[in-house]
Symmetry: C2
Subunit: 191 residues, 2 copies
DNA sequence: ACGATATACGCAACAGATTGCATATGCAAA
DNA sequence: TTTGCATATGCAATCTGTTGCGTATATCGT
């Protein structure tokens, strides 16, 4: 049950509505962990039923249809308990690997282009993460505990993208290892 | 629908039963993609209903309760179609990041130990992958197309584990950056 | 005044995946 | 001979997560 606990962690900071949580997810871990707003509303209802969160008073200045939730004592205890439990390595369903397993039986040109597309996509993501890093963490050595956790999350994003890009380059070079040599004037690539 | 296509790709090789497929999954991509045997049996039924696989004759020498499936013409077409579709980057629900987001509010010692545990686990996985690499792909430059796809899958496993281990080391070093200095004779670590 | 966009919540149906249970055979070790 | 293990399949319940739809209000530009 990772999402519910991610919500609890976010509520440690301050009371938030489902909408707030969804936006915050998108801005922080959203790139490598997609969560739909439906899922968040659903989890909030469940957490409320468990008594781990409760509706928080909404400032009269805010919209009336907004429902903010705050962490309860029970929720805080549940979170502390969860922190003690071991984490599983995430599993990682990379469809590219499945396609590569079919390398012999399928069109190499298609696969190569797809890996190139993925490489470009990850290059964009990396640039985005690096911009965030430069903007928010110019001096990592001097961060508060609160910001250090977020910094490490972003670092994971960066090293993951770098690794993925390097792997894509390796895969592109590897796919045609047995193909006949090509020249610039004859760039046709055989199947 | 990635699992169903992974099954189709595996059946490209030869007809297989659910049990065969499950074992093969465990031996190949199983480390980073856990699939239960139930899920495989379920998908096989679905694929059979769609007409993408069909029961294959079972050798009389084999156990009678074994049901092997083979790819049909339709299944092969569906697979070719799927190869043309773009792949999404996998999403990657790393619970450690959620825990790190709670760094300020929780026990650092617990988090540090958990990251050390994860680092050790990934170190074991890496050793396992490297053993597989040495055993099966001692000379990567001379592989057939069939084996090259599998080689690249294993390479992805290796670089992913290496990256994860390096990130764990970085995180361990980073967690206590603001803690008072410790000596070997006084290894107590404050919260 | 109108439309676009952002805010804000939720239901219903489905798909994907896990967990626990049930069943049955064959083989080898204690 | 009994116990346990590997082989081999499957149901039912549950949980997790997605997709599509529906409903509002507020804000802002034209």
């Amino acid at each position: 049950m990772a999402l519910s606990h991610a919500i609890l962690v976010s509520l440690l900071d301050r009371p938030q509505s489902g909408y707030d949580l969804a936006k915050r997810f998108d801005r922080t871990v959203g790139f490598f962990w997609k969560v739909s707003h439906q899922q968040i509303y659903l989890e909030l209802h469940k957490l409320a039923r468990s008594g781990w969160v409760a509706s928080a008073p909404v400032e009269p200045s805010e919209r009336p249809n907004r429902i903010a939730y705050q962490l309860t004592e029970d929720g805080r205890k549940a979170l502390d308990q969860w922190m003690l439990e071991p984490t599983e390595p995430p599993n990682f369903k990379e469809e590219m690997i499945v396609k590569l397993f079919a390398l012999e039986a399928s069109n190499r040109d298609t696969i190569r282009k797809e890996i190139e597309r993925r490489r470009d996509l990850h290059t964009q993501r990396l640039a985005h993460y690096q911009a965030l890093m430069a903007e928010h963490y110019p001096e990592p050595a001097r961060l508060s505990a609160r910001r250090r956790g977020r910094y490490l999350g972003l670092r994971m994003g960066i090293v993951t993208e770098q690794t993925t890009i390097a792997w894509c380059e390796e895969a592109i070079a590897c796919i045609d290892l047995d193909a006949p040599k090509r020249t610039k004037s004859d760039p046709a690539r055989p199947r």
